[in-house]
Symmetry: C2
Subunit: 168 residues, 2 copies
DNA sequence: ATCGAATATGTTATATTATCACAACTTTGT
DNA sequence: ACAAAGTTGTGATAATATAACATATTCGAT
């Protein structure tokens, strides 16, 4: 059992998640039009499923949730949609979890700090310019040419550590 | 085919890799003694195999290389050894590659910047204190409690980008 | 409107990565 | 010598991801 359903409940209470979803989908549609790429029904559906929460979600979980809506869905169906969404910067792949999360900064610079809570599995995305600047200069010093700069931090988020305090 | 064998050749030319290996193994043995944990023959052998190069190596590659030396070797044999070596901070797991690399800073603080070359697959480890400091304060600002702070950067290393220049 | 190219999807099979469960063996402390 | 803890052997299987090829759809040029 995961503690996440209850933990994410208060998170949802704190913000209007329907706005998160509609903002993300609007941005996605606009970006795809501008770029001349197809946000097909499958891709849109997968994006919606990912945005159902702020928790990282696994490919086969998405497949299970997609099947009722699309009976022919197979692993490739999901992985292709995920590949597209990642290419377009609409979602992040969390390497350390083999999981996926909607991106809050689609269309902007796409190098963020991901704070991944072990307790509620929610992921907070921060642009963290100070960190990214320090990182860039460290990389330059090494003579390295970076193609991607994702940072994944695992730990306990503010909400969950407060809860633990209260209970402890 | 991988371009790595030739690329890593000049890397090896640049340093005495037998020293890398013996230093790593010495440190490992000492740390395990101090900590009262067992660096068994299997674990030591896997550590040696990982240290054969500065390239990230996959679990099943290790298994293939281990089998000639240990015919009973199975996936669990390798994964158990890897789990142990990671727990003891003797190797890093590179999440974005599902691969493993020897740690240069075993026994010291264990949060580093990993620069992973797409060309030669070598991994450079840097302690990058400026980045880590900026990261810590960003994490603090978020009210997050970090348990791990690994940063994996993919790109082209200094050596390989010079080679490309020369050839291009 | 229709043709061809490019793109997207359907479908089956399989590759890759990782863990579980339980028995047997080894090491350590008493 | 014995028990407890730790390690390894072994077989099965779970979880994650891709390959290959056929079919269908979309889009632009004629």
């Amino acid at each position: 059992m995961r503690s996440s359903s209850s933990s994410s409940a208060h998170a949802s209470a704190k913000h209007d998640h329907t706005k998160c979803i509609s903002a993300a989908l609007d941005t996605a549609e606009q970006l795809c039009v501008v770029r001349g790429v197809q946000l097909t029904p499958i891709r849109l559906q997968v994006l919606k499923l990912i945005w159902e929460s702020h928790q990282a979600v696994k490919a086969y979980e998405l497949l299970d949730r997609l099947k009722p809506l699309k009976q022919e869905a197979k692993p490739a169906t999901v992985y292709r949609a995920l590949d597209f969404l990642i290419e377009q910067g609409l979602i992040h792949r969390i390497e350390s979890l083999n999981a996926f999360i909607g991106c809050h900064y689609s269309g902007q610079q796409h190098e963020q700090l991901l704070l991944i809570c072990k307790e509620c599995h929610e992921v907070e995305e921060r642009s963290a310019p100070a960190v990214m600047d320090a990182l860039s200069s460290e990389i330059d010093q090494a003579g390295f040419i970076a193609h991607s700069k994702a940072i994944e931090i695992h730990g306990i988020c503010a909400k969950c550590s407060k809860e633990t305090d209260a209970q402890g």
